[in-house]
Structures are given as structure tokens and as C-alpha cells.
């Protein structure tokens, strides 16, 4: 069968490396900082972001809109619009290579091959002018030495894999002929076509209805289990995080404010922002009074405090917070929080 020929080299090519590195994280991002031209001095849109993902694991990045989730992932993929965006610091070790120092050509070779990405908007992320089959096969032809026909064969397999009904027909369909959920499946098929080691999914379900969202999440999770792909899932829905994450990084205004295993984050949140976030989500159980809210909004770049960026919205903040940025300190093994006063009940337990 056609796909055998395609898949053979893929596994061969990747197996030695994956085995060699499986002990360490597949991707290790340290101190990533991104600046946009014209932003006030010292205010990076992404500032000193560190996290890591291991093979077969899922890292969720959560945070408010505009906190830099997409910019972070685009920086890793090398898809940031430069200018105005500029990576000003940090490293991202992917399988022994620093993604941030690769040449444009090397990055392009990596993209869609060993790392792939799914975007938020299934409705607009597919090119309306080409058929689904063309668009999937294109990525395969780009990275594998296969003919167009073989690539189409592989594309068909992928469509089957993402459970698209009548895949033969869909291969020749145009994006507009499909619903949002179907398109998102196509996006997933496209991303996974070359068996990437790392999949970055930027809010893959935000635009979808709950029932469809559940379908897609289940699908992603199953595929991940099958292939052992590492995944970075970006979302702002804590429910989704709780369902799929192994590790969580909570971002606020361009910084990771808390990171750790998913249980730790949900059961033992340390950063005031994480706590406020949890309090803001209405419960599905019987109503329990008003929601606890985080006041105000993220300050605009020109008013960003020097210290902890959450200061203006934080009930616990004081002048120290405003002036000195707290480090991402380890509270428990693997659980870090960027707060001077974590754990709160110890530092802020008593009324001041």
C-alpha cells in the first residue's frame, strides 16, 4: 500500500534520535523574549518565558487574550512577522538544536516536518483556492521525496485517521464545503501528515461548539497516544486544560507566572492570578454566590509595571511587587510560581 512506502523512511529517520533524547524534554525553552518594534522600552510582549515538553506529553499554556501565547508559539515555529517582531533573548532546544539560531531555510525544513502547528481559526486557516487533498499533499511533497500521487495517497490516509467521513470525496473538496469541525480535522491531518515530533495547537477548539470541541479534543488526544507526539496546547479554557494537560504553564502579560503538573495547578494554585482565574470561572454545580473576579484589565504596554506585571490587579500586591520582578521560583518539585508571596497563606494569611 502506498502509505507504507511513505511511512517507512519517516520512522527510520526519527527513531534513533527520539530514543536517544526520550529521557530529556523534547523541547526546552529557556528565557524566551520577544519584542515588537515600537513597543515601550523594556516591555517585551513575551518576556523570559521558560517551559519544556517531553515526548508523548501535553503542555498547556493558558492565559488571557493578548498575553503572548500565540507569539510564543509562532516564535518557536519561526513564523513571527519580522519586523516588527524580534526575538531578543532565550533559547529553544529542540532535539539538540536551538530553534532560535537556525537559518530561515533550516527552520523551513523543520516546519511541517518535525514540528507542526494547528491554528485557532479553522475557517480561515485553509487556503480557499485549493482542494483539501492538495493542501495536505503539498506539505508531504515538500518534506518527503515522494511523488504527488503518493502524497495524495498519504493525504487520504490522514483524512481517514482524523475520522472524516467519505475521505475520498473530501480529498477533492474545497475548504468552504466543510464545517468548522471538519476543517479543524483537516488542519490536524495536515499537521500530522509528516509524523511530527512536536505539535503546537494554538487554541484549536476555541472557535468550535462544545460538542465539536469535545470531538476534536478526543481526537487529538487519541492521535497523540498513537504517535507519541509531544504537544503544546494553547487555550484559555481551564476546563480544556484540566481535561488534556500533563503540564501547565499559566501566562500573564507575556510572562509565565506559574507552571507545573496539571494537578498541582488545579489543586494547589500558587499565583494570585491563577487563583483569580479559578475564581472567575462559573461553577457547573449549584450556584454559589458571586464570582470572585480579577479587577481591571491587563495594563497597556506603556503602563506596564517594572516589577510583577500583575501588580495593578493583584489584591496582595505591595511596592516590592511593583518594583522588583519576582523570579519563577520552585515551590514544590516541578511546580513554580512567579510571586514574592507564594504560598500566600504563609505570607498573606494574616490580615495586615
Amino acid at each position: 500500500m502506498g502509505h507504507e512506502a511513505v511511512r517507512q523512511p519517516i520512522t527510520e529517520a526519527h527513531t534513533p534520535q527520539t530514543i536517544a533524547t526520550s529521557a530529556q524534554p523534547l523541547l526546552n525553552v529557556q528565557g524566551l523574549s520577544v519584542r515588537f518594534d515600537g513597543a515601550p522600552k523594556g516591555v517585551n510582549v513575551v518576556d523570559d518565558v521558560s517551559f519544556s515538553v517531553s515526548k508523548g506529553k501535553t503542555l498547556c499554556i493558558v492565559g488571557e487574550s493578548g498575553c503572548g501565547k500565540s507569539v510564543t508559539s509562532l516564535a518557536l515555529m519561526g513564523l513571527l512577522p519580522t519586523p516588527p517582531a524580534r526575538i531578543v533573548g532565550g533559547s529553544a532546544m529542540f532535539d539538540g538544536q536551538d530553534l532560535l539560531t537556525l537559518t530561515e531555510r533550516e527552520r523551513a525544513d523543520l516546519r511541517g516536518d518535525r514540528m507542526a502547528m494547528i491554528f485557532q481559526e479553522p475557517m480561515t486557516s485553509l487556503n480557499p483556492a485549493f482542494t483539501i487533498g492538495d493542501q495536505i499533499a503539498e506539505g508531504i511533497v515538500r518534506h518527503r521525496r515522494v511523488s504527488k500521487a503518493e502524497a495524495m495517497e498519504r493525504a487520504l490516509d490522514m483524512l481517514k485517521k482524523v475520522r472524516i467521513p467519505a475521505p475520498e470525496k473530501r480529498l477533492r473538496a474545497y475548504p468552504h464545503e466543510m464545517s468548522g469541525g471538519m476543517r479543524q480535522r483537516v488542519m490536524i491531518a495536515m499537521a500530522l501528515a509528516n509524523d511530527p515530533q512536536l505539535l503546537i495547537a494554538d487554541e484549536p477548539t476555541t472557535a468550535l461548539d462544545v460538542t465539536i470541541q469535545a470531538q476534536i479534543l478526543t481526537l487529538i488526544r487519541r492521535l497523540q497516544e498513537e504517535t507519541g507526539t509531544a504537544m503544546i496546547l494553547i487555550t484559555h479554557d481551564l476546563g480544556v486544560v484540566a481535561e488534556v494537560a500533563d503540564e501547565v504553564a499559566v501566562m500573564y502579560a507575556g510572562r509565565v507566572v506559574e507552571s507545573g503538573p496539571v494537578e498541582a495547578i488545579f489543586e494547589d494554585p500558587q499565583h494570585p492570578y491563577t487563583i483569580g482565574l479559578m475564581g472567575s470561572v462559573p461553577s457547573l454545580g449549584r450556584r454559589q454566590g458571586r464570582l470572585a473576579t480579577i479587577r481591571g484589565t491587563v495594563p497597556p504596554a506603556e503602563l506596564m509595571p517594572k516589577g510583577c506585571r500583575f501588580t495593578p490587579r493583584c489584591p496582595f500586591a505591595d511596592t516590592r511587587c511593583a518594583n522588583d520582578p519576582p523570579p519563577l521560583a520552585e515551590i514544590k518539585p516541578g511546580h513554580r510560581a512567579r510571586c514574592w508571596y507564594a504560598p500566600l497563606e504563609i505570607h498573606r494569611g494574616a490580615a495586615s
Partner: protein
């Protein structure tokens, strides 16, 4: 699709009626007396009266209009007051010239406009962008009649490279035909290139911002392919539409260029007819160009659908 075209054609009918009324009214409003123009230097009163009678110029204007429109509907567009040639024959003999000029001008415009548009979109904000912009805009801002004469002076008179003006039918001498059309096509084309360039640029910019371009890049495709395949293909939709519309305008709009290069096309025909008060010709030709324009509009819409799979498959 057929239904759609049918409906569009139905819509065009009232438009054409308005065009005919408008043209008729417009030239009735023109000062001057066609008969005086026709009667020549001597202005023999007997002849004046006879001509007035013959062309029913003393009838009430609505009567004149209906007389004209009803014979036009039977395919008889009348006879040129100036040369006795049936207007339909005139149209038939000028149409190929006009179409040829329009096509060549369009080729020039596309050849200049699209590449510069793409380059300046891709290099947005750089010197290349500004330069491409200024070059394309210069085509728009130099009046055609002036550029035409400049070219004739330089290329024909000084360097003797191309014939200064005139028209040779391609059936007679294809090479000469192309040589004579080169300059007028260039003059007309540069004027259109600017608008094509600008539209290409903004279409490309719009498309380059879109999510599917990011998707294409995420697949690892190289910039060249992303631009020329994914972006251009989508930017082409508005460009194709615009091109057909511009072409429609060209069919009648080449007035001054035809004048300068003495190309016997529609533009020159209409202008001469207006100045000679050759009513039948003005009416017939403008009606014909209006039909052409409307047809081009229709074609633009159809092409829009055809190059746009989203709509094509809905059909």
C-alpha cells in the same frame, strides 16, 4: 450559473434603456445645429430646410427618440450624417481596432502592474516598495496626450524605431500592425498599470495577512512558493475582476490616445462624432460601448465566480 447570467442580462436591459435615453438627451442638449455643420461653408437655406426635414430634427424630442430606438431595435442604427456610412458598418469596422488596442494595452498594464504590485506588497515599507509605487503612479499622472506626443517625438521622429501613428490591419501586415500599436498600447497601458499595481498590492497585502498564508508557511513551504502559489492565487480574484472592468473602460475610453496616434477606433469615432454633431454615430457607438461595458461587467462577475472556488462550487 446560467440562471445567474440570465438574471444579470435582464438587469442590464433597464441600464441600456437609461443609457440610450441619457445619450440621446445629452446630445440634444449640446449646443449647435447638426444641419449647420452638415451644410458646409455655404449654408444654403434650402438645403438646411431639406436636411432638417430629412433627419426629422424638428420633431418633438420624444418622437425622435422613439423613432431612433425602434429602428435601433430592429438592428438599424442609422447612417452617419457626415459620411453616409451606416453606423453599424462603422461600428463593425472600428470594433476590431478598439479591441486589439484594448487587449494590447491590457497586456502592457498587466505586465507592469502585477509584478510591481507583488514586489511592492512583499517588500512593503521598503525603498523597493516606494520606487515601484512612484513608477506605477507616474504612469497614471502623466496625461496620455502628452506622453503620446513625447513618445512619438522620441521613438518615431528621433530614433525612427516605430511608426508615429496610423493603423495597419493585422490581416494586411501583422508585424507592422504590432509596431503601430505598440506605442498607443504602452501609453494606455501605463495609465492603467498604476491602478492594477495598487490593487494587486493591496490584494496581496490583504492575502498575505490571512491565516492560510501562515498555514502554508507552517507546512515549511518556502516564501517564493507561498507568495506565488498561495497568495497570488487568491489575490488574483480581485485582480481578474478589476482587469475585466478596466478592459470594459478601455473599449471606449481611449479617446485621447486614439486621437494622438490616429487610431481609428471607437474613442476617436465618438469624439469626432460629438464635435460634428453626427447624432446617429454618437448614439450608436455609445450604445455599443455601453453594451460592451455591461458585458465586461457581467464577465467580471462570472470570472469572479470562476476563479473563486468558494462560489464556483456553490453554483
Amino acid at each position: 450559473m446560467l440562471r445567474y447570467i440570465g438574471r444579470r442580462i435582464l438587469i442590464a436591459i433597464p441600464t441600456l434603456i437609461i443609457v440610450s435615453v441619457l445619450v440621446f438627451a445629452l446630445q440634444k442638449l449640446l449646443p449647435g445645429d447638426p444641419v449647420l455643420t452638415m451644410a458646409g461653408e455655404e449654408r444654403d437655406p434650402q438645403v438646411l430646410a431639406y436636411l432638417r426635414e430629412k433627419y426629422r430634427l424638428d420633431d418633438p424630442i420624444p418622437v425622435q427618440y422613439f423613432a431612433w430606438i425602434s429602428s435601433a431595435l430592429t438592428g438599424n442604427l442609422g447612417i452617419s450624417l457626415r459620411t453616409d456610412i451606416p453606423v453599424l458598418d462603422l461600428i463593425m469596422s472600428k470594433l476590431p481596432v478598439t479591441i486589439e488596442l484594448a487587449i494590447m494595452a491590457m497586456i502592457v498594464a498587466l505586465a507592469i502592474g502585477i509584478p510591481t504590485g507583488i514586489i511592492s506588497a512583499v517588500k512593503k515599507g521598503t525603498t523597493v516598495d516606494y520606487t515601484a509605487n512612484v513608477i506605477a503612479l507616474s504612469g497614471l499622472s502623466i496625461p496620455n496626450f502628452w506622453l503620446g506626443i513625447m513618445l512619438i517625438m522620441l521613438i518615431s521622429v528621433r530614433w525612427k524605431l516605430l511608426p508615429a501613428s496610423g493603423y495597419v490591419p493585422p490581416t494586411e501586415d501583422l508585424w507592422l500592425n504590432i509596431k503601430t500599436m505598440l506605442m498607443p498600447a504602452f501609453v494606455l497601458g501605463t495609465g492603467l498599470a498604476a491602478s492594477l499595481m495598487r490593487h494587486t498590492r493591496s490584494a496581496m497585502l490583504g492575502v498575505m495577512r490571512s491565516d492560510y498564508i501562515r498555514t502554508a508557511r507552517a507546512k515549511g513551504l518556502l516564501s517564493r512558493k507561498v507568495i506565488l502559489k498561495h497568495a497570488l492565487r487568491n489575490a488574483l480574484v480581485p485582480i481578474v475582476t478589476l482587469s475585466t472592468l478596466l478592459f470594459g473602460e478601455l473599449l471606449a475610453g481611449a479617446v485621447l490616445t486614439e486621437q494622438i496616434f490616429t487610431i481609428p477606433g471607437f474613442g476617436k469615432l465618438i469624439v469626432d462624432a460629438v464635435f460634428n454633431r453626427d447624432y446617429a454615430v454618437v448614439q450608436g457607438v455609445v450604445l455599443c460601448t455601453a453594451v460592451g461595458f455591461i458585458f465586461m461587467n457581467l464577465l467580471a462577475d462570472v470570472l469572479y465566480v470562476l476563479v473563486n472556488p468558494r462560489l464556483r462550487h456553490a453554483a
